[in-house]
Amino acid sequence: MMKQNDAAFSAEHRQYIARLNRSRRGIKLARWLILIVFIALWELFARVGIIDPFIGSSPVRVAETIARLYSGGELFLHIGITLYETVLGFVLGTAAGTLIAVALWWSPALNRVLDPYLVVLNALPKIALGPILIVWFGAGITSIIVMALLISFVVTIMSVLAGFNEITGEKQLLMKTLGASKLQIFTMVVLPASLPTIMNALKISVGMSWVGVIVGEYLVSKAGLGYLIVYGGQVFKLDLVMASIVVLCLLAALMYYGVAYMEKKLVKWRMHGG
């Protein structure tokens, strides 16, 4: 499309741009509105007694609970532990999963041998392994990290391998005609070409790591957001449960955007350095 300055746009085009901007603003507004209306109604219902605040909590009570946790110095302790477990589980799980995906791409025979095991491992709810992990790794942080690792590990293998295998045989044929070794084919074509798929896999496994950590904390922890949720539920402090979930929401979203940001950087790097 040719570049034109504003004055050169036809009235029709200006209208089109205006419509575009209006619809963008409308969507943003609707998003915030949902959140605000939800919080407002929740608070209102709690105050007039439609919701029992003892069971349903309320936004103000949630905020108060978070403030109390903060001033007691507990908030960042719990966040820190949960974050530590999640990040470690995620990094280890995706790193190991990617390595295994590379090995399976490298050797189609190995891939075929291990395929049924992968299918079963993928179908198995990893949570079922919880008791075994506790016996093996102790009732502590290690078990939780291993749980997060396990959950993101299998997903990573499956989706990264699918990404590698998506790269057409023809591109590999081209590399072969140029005399490329398998390692060159992998590093120069397959890996950079499947980078977007790998990043999508990471986005999925971030979520999976959170599942693993929270479940792990339900089972064995003495601290962390999952612990707060379980503890709050047991002693019937729904304020504490809701507050922990709100914090969890924020953290999970933050980590997701962190990975998305990393993706942007990597794709850019690929364009210039690759």
Binding site: E170, L173, L174, M175, T177, L178, M188, P192, M271, G274
Partner: protein, 252 residues
């Protein structure tokens, strides 16, 4: 062009079988042909007759089941139907791919590749990405990527068939000109008879599977470029002769 009469490609009694769980399919049987230095040979044949396998064998990617193959002048350059440019590399990065793979990337080879790009009218696009180029330009970049490693022999596997008709005719002309000027020896595989006649010094007609050379035509047409040659009076005679020789019932 053919000052030197020595064959730089020789296929002697080459055969190739495809294997799968259902059995064995003979794809090539008793294939004999040679290509002289600087010659442009077109191969036409019905679809699925194993033309591409002939190129794979010449490129050293496939191993024949029998017979002997002799290729001179180092690793042949290979061009596919799709350009397969790497979209995260600039045009420059793409044309240097072969040199990088072969560990021959240095100042001299790099400037040779960039010089090719300039000579053939794409110099200003060196810093652009493939997504910013038209289909015809992309295929030209793919050709320069192939030429950058200075192969003596070029193997073209239907390099125009993914392009629209107009681009195709123009690129035919341009690539023919480039290949002749660079003094390359070329084997072009195509299903397009007109393309084969207009570009080739010689056309080999392959039979249906198991394939072999069914007929051979030395093309003598007035005019230099493929477009001019398409207008030559005897162009139609070649076309009709080859059309008659093709095994049509095998074509799908």
């Amino acid at each position: 062009m053919n000052g030197d009469n020595a064959y730089i490609v020789e296929f002697n009694g080459v055969s190739l079988n495809y294997h799968d769980a259902q059995g064995e399919t003979p794809a090539i049987r008793g294939l004999d042909f040679g290509v002289k230095k600087g010659e442009f040979v077109s191969i036409v044949g019905p679809s699925g007759c194993g033309k591409t396998s002939v190129l794979s064998i010449a490129a050293g990617i496939a191993v024949p089941s029998g017979g002997s193959v002799r290729i001179e002048g180092g690793r042949p350059g290979y061009m596919l139907q799709q350009d397969h440019l790497l979209d995260w590399r600039t045009v420059e990065g793409n044309i240097l791919l072969g040199l990088e793979v072969q560990g021959n990337l240095n100042e001299e080879s790099r400037s040779y590749a960039l010089e090719l790009l300039k000579t053939y009218g794409l110099g200003e696009f060196a810093g652009k990405y493939p997504s910013q180029l038209s289909g015809g330009m992309r295929q030209k970049v793919a050709l320069i990527r192939t030429l950058a490693t200075r192969p003596e022999l070029l193997l073209l596997d239907e390099p125009f068939s993914a392009l629209d008709f107009q681009t195709r005719l123009m690129l035919c002309d341009e690539m023919h000109d480039i290949l002749k000027r660079e003094g390359k020896t070329v084997i072009l595989v195509t299903h397009d008879i007109s393309e084969a006649i207009s570009m080739g010094d010689r056309v080999l007609v392959f039979s249906a599977r198991p394939t072999g050379v069914k007929a051979e035509h030395i093309i003598d047409l007035s005019g230099k470029s493929p477009l001019e040659r398409r207008n030559a009076a005897n162009f139609k005679d070649y076309f009709n002769a080859i059309w008659g020789e093709l095994d049509h019932d095998e074509a799908k």
